[in-house]
Amino acid sequence: MTPQNTAPSAAPGEVLLQMSGIVKEFPGVRALGGVDLDVRAGEVHCLLGQNGAGKSTLIKVLAAAYQPDEGTITWNGQEVSFGSPLQAINAGVATIYQELDLVPDLSVAENVFLGHEMSRGGFSQRARANKVTRELLTRLGHPEISPSRAVGDLSPANQQIVSMARALSHDTKLLILDEPSAVLDQEGVKNLFRVIRGLTAEGVAIVYISHRLEEIREIGDRITVLKDGSTVATGLAVADTPTSRLIELMTGRAIEYVFPPRPEFDPARNDVVLEVRDLALEGVFSGVDMTVHAGEIVGLTGLVGAGRSEILETLYGARRASNGTVTVDGKPLRRGSVTNAVKAGVGLCPEERKSQGLLLDQAVYTNITISSMNRFARLGFLDRGEERARAEQLTTSLDVRPTGVVRAVGTLSGGNQQKVVLARWLLRECRVLLLDEPTRGVDVGARTEIYQLIRTLADSGVAVVVVSSEVEEVLGLSDRVLVVREGRVVHESAATEIDESQVLDLVMEGSAA
C-alpha cells in the first residue's frame, strides 16, 4: 500500500485519517450506512458521488458538525471522537464549505484570525496579525492580496484563498474542500490547483469534493466513491481508473451520449426570433450583436467576469442597457424592463438559482405559475386547482422528483430545482429562453436530462441562448458559439467548427497580461 505520490514531506503516505464503518442515522433514515475512508498525509483524496449520496453528511461528521452513531475515527494513529467542530479544528481538521463564511466588511487579516484574534491584554495586535497573514498568503502563492483590504472587495477566487489562509492559520493537517471550483473560472481553478500542490508538498492532506471529473483527474491521487450512503469503492488510484468506470460506480451505468444529437440546422429556413444590435452596458460590455433563429441554441462562453451573464441580464431588461436594441419577433423591447421582456415572450433561468430564480419557501406549483399567473386568474382571482393541475402535468413530464407540487421547492435537489425553473418558462410558452449556467450544482444524471430538455425546447421553435463556464457544455449543446472576452464578442461560429482548446485560446488570450 505504498502510494505513488512521493511528495517531500514529514511523513509522506502515512495514514492520517481512518474512518471505518461510519453510520449516521437521522430518525427514520440512514444517511450514512457504513462508510470507510482513509486519507494519507500529503495526498489529494477525492470524494465522488451524486447529490444525496452522503458526501455532505460525511464531511460534516469529519468536521464534527455531526456525531456519528457508529464507527470509529482514527486520527494520527489514535482513535478519537471530536465532540465539537472546535475540537476538530484544534486537532488540525479544517473545512472550507461551498458557501464561504467570510465577513465582507472586515479586512483579510481580521477574517483570517476571526475567532482566534491575536491580542495582548485585550488589545488586538494588528501589525502582527497582518504580518502572519501576509506569510500565509505568500505560502498560498498570493502575496499580492493585501492583509488590510476588505474581503468584500476581493474576487470570489481570492476570497477562497482567504478562507484557506484562515484554515492554515490553525495548524491544519487535513483540509476539506467542498466544491471549491464552483465559484472559480479556468484561471482560478489553475491557481487553486497550484495552492493544493503546494500544501500537499508540505504534507497536508486534502479531501476534495467536486462534480467535475476532469478536475479530479488533474489534481487527485486517490478516489473514494459514495453511493446511497455507503462506500462503493475506496482508494482507487486516479491514474488507473477510467472516467467511464467512475461514472459507472456513481450511477450504476456507463454514459454514452451526454449531449442530445444536434439536428441539421439551416438558418435560412427558420425565422429570426431574437435580434440584438450593438448592445452595450457602460463599463461592462459593448457592441454585442447576436441573431438567434427559432429552434437554434446559441452558446456564450468566456471567463467569469468577461460579461457573459451581464449580456443575458441586459437583454432581459434586468439591467438597463446604455446603448443598442433588442428585438423579439421584430418588436423592440423597452430598455431595463423585465416585465416588458417577459410580456414579449423572453424567459431567463438565472445563474443563482436559489437567490435569483426561486421562492424557496413556496410551493413548487406557485414557482412554476408565477410568470403565467394571469392565465389562471379571472378578475384577479386565481384558480388554484387549475394551477396545480398544470404544474402537475409539467413536473410529471419533466420527471421532477420527488413528486407533489405543493411541497416547498427548497426541499428539492439542484437538478430538480432547475427543472422547476424550466417548467416555469415551458408553461409560459416563451419565444426566447435565456439560460445562465443551467447545470451548475446539478449532478451528472440530471445534467443529461436538462440538456435533452433544452434541445427539445429548441426543437419546438424556441430561440435559446446558453451561458456556461464549461466550454465542453457550450460546444456540446449549442448550434452556434459566441466567445466573449473583456466585454466583447471575439468569435462567432458554428459549434462544430471550433474545439475546446481553440475556445480556451480565444478566452485566455490577453487575459494573462
Binding site: 453511493k227 434586468a318 430564480g357 398544470r390 413530464s397 415551458l426 419546438s460
Partner: protein
C-alpha cells in the same frame, strides 16, 4: 399531497412528445437518482422529525392559529375569573370589539406591507391626518351641503395619498421603508397639527355619526366594517394574483423581478393599500369619538406591528396570515381590557405587551428554523 398518476397530455402546447427524456437514461439509473433524492428528502424530513409533535403542529398555519385561539381563550378565562360580570357583559364585549375594529383594520393593511417585505411606521400618523382632514370645517360644510360621503372620500383619499408618497419614494426613490415611513410618521402628524391648529375638531354632520354608529345584530357598524375588511383581506392575500405577487415580492424580490413581476409597482400598491386602511380606521375612530384630532392613533404603528407579528406573519416577508392578525389584534385588545377592568396601570400593560411580543417572535424563529427548507 396529490399523486395523480394520469399520463401527461400536452405541456405547453407542442412540446409534449419530445419532453419525454426517458430514452436518454436507463431505467436503472433513474431508480438510482430517485433513491438518492428520496434519501436527501428523508434526511430533511428526519431533521424536522426531531421536533416534537407539538412544535410540528405549531409549525403549520392551522396549528399556529389554534395556538393563538387557545391563548385568547385563556385570556378570556382570566378576564372572567378576575373581573367576572364586568368582563363578560354584552357592553364590555362590544367595547372590546369596537376598540379592536379600528386597530384591526390598520393591522390588516400592515399584514400586506410586512408580507411584501416592507414595514409602515406611519400608520398612526396617517390615521391622525385623515381624521383631521375629514373633519375640517370645510369638509364638514361640504358634507352638510352635499352628502356625508364627502367625509369618507376625503379620509380615504388622504390615506391613499400618504401611502402613495411612501410607496413611490420607497420603490422608485430607493429609500429604506423604515426610514421613509419614519419620516412620514413625523410629517403627517405635523401636517395634522397644522391643519387642526392642535385643536380637537368636533363632528356634527348628522348622517355620518348615525351611519357608523348604528347597530346591526348587536354590534356597531364599525365592527362589521372590520369583519368585512378582514374577509376582503383574506381573499385578497390567499386567492388573488395580488396576494400571490405580495408573497413573491416579500419572499424574494430579486426572484420575483426576474420572473417578470413588476416589483416596484407592486410595492407602491402595498403602501397605498395600507394608507387606505388607515383612512377607513380614521373614519371609524372619528365616528366613535365624534372628533378628529392630530393625537388620534398615537402608537398605533406599534400595536399593529405587534398584532401582525404575534399573528404569525413573517417580519422578513414572504409569509402572511390574515386570520393570525385578527386573533393577534383580539388578544391585545382583550389584554388591555382585562387590565383596565382590574384597575392595573397602563405601565403594567405595556410591560406585559413587550414580553408577549418577544415571546411570540422567539417562538416564531424557533419554528422557522425547524421548518427551514433553505439549508
Amino acid at each position: 399531497m396529490s399523486e395523480s398518476s394520469t399520463p401527461t397530455p400536452e405541456p405547453g402546447g407542442s412540446l409534449a412528445a419530445g419532453l419525454d427524456v426517458d430514452d436518454a437514461r436507463t431505467a436503472a439509473d433513474k431508480e438510482a437518482t430517485r433513491k438518492a433524492e428520496q434519501e436527501a428528502l428523508e434526511v430533511e424530513r428526519a431533521k424536522a422529525g426531531e421536533a416534537s409533535a407539538l412544535t410540528r403542529l405549531l409549525g403549520t398555519g392551522m396549528g399556529r392559529n389554534l395556538g393563538l385561539v387557545i391563548a385568547l381563550v385563556i385570556l378570556c378565562v382570566v378576564g372572567a375569573a378576575t373581573a367576572g360580570e364586568r368582563f363578560v357583559s354584552t357592553g364590555n364585549v362590544q367595547t372590546i370589539l369596537s376598540l379592536a375594529a379600528t386597530i384591526g383594520v390598520v393591522s390588516i393593511g400592515m399584514t400586506f406591507v410586512i408580507t411584501g417585505g416592507g414595514i409602515d411606521l406611519s400608520v398612526g400618523a396617517i390615521l391622525a391626518l385623515s381624521s383631521v382632514w375629514c373633519t375640517t370645517l370645510a369638509t364638514q360644510d361640504l358634507a352638510r351641503d352635499g352628502h356625508w360621503v364627502a367625509m369618507v372620500a376625503v379620509a380615504l383619499l388622504v390615506g391613499a395619498a400618504c401611502g402613495l408618497v411612501n410607496g413611490l419614494l420607497i420603490a422608485y426613490g430607493g429609500i429604506v421603508p423604515f426610514i421613509m415611513t419614519l419620516a412620514m410618521l413625523a410629517s403627517a402628524r405635523g401636517l395634522a397639527e397644522i391643519i387642526s391648529n392642535r385643536k380637537t375638531q368636533i363632528v356634527d354632520v348628522p348622517g355620518f355619526r348615525e351611519f357608523f354608529n348604528r347597530e346591526i345584530l348587536g354590534l356597531s357598524f364599525s365592527v362589521w366594517l372590520f369583519v368585512l375588511v378582514a374577509i376582503a383581506g383574506w381573499v385578497l392575500l390567499n386567492r388573488t394574483t395580488f396576494g400571490r405577487r405580495t408573497l413573491a415580492v416579500g419572499g424574494n424580490p430579486e426572484a420575483a423581478r426576474l420572473a417578470g413581476i413588476n416589483v416596484k409597482r407592486h410595492t407602491v400598491m402595498l403602501y397605498v393599500l395600507v394608507g387606505v386602511c388607515c383612512g377607513i380606521a380614521a373614519l371609524m375612530l372619528v365616528a366613535r369619538t365624534t372628533t378628529g384630532s392630530s393625537t388620534h392613533g398615537t402608537l398605533y404603528e406599534l400595536d399593529a406591528i405587534a398584532a401582525v407579528v404575534i399573528g404569525g406573519t413573517l417580519l422578513a416577508g414572504g409569509r402572511g396570515t390574515i386570520v393570525g392578525t385578527v386573533i393577534g389584534v383580539l388578544i391585545f385588545t382583550t389584554l388591555t381590557n382585562v387590565f383596565t377592568l382590574n384597575n392595573r396601570s397602563i405601565s403594567e400593560q405595556s410591560l406585559l405587551k413587550g414580553a408577549i411580543i418577544v415571546a411570540a417572535v422567539l417562538l416564531q424563529q424557533r419554528l422557522a428554523s425547524r421548518n427551514s427548507t433553505t439549508t
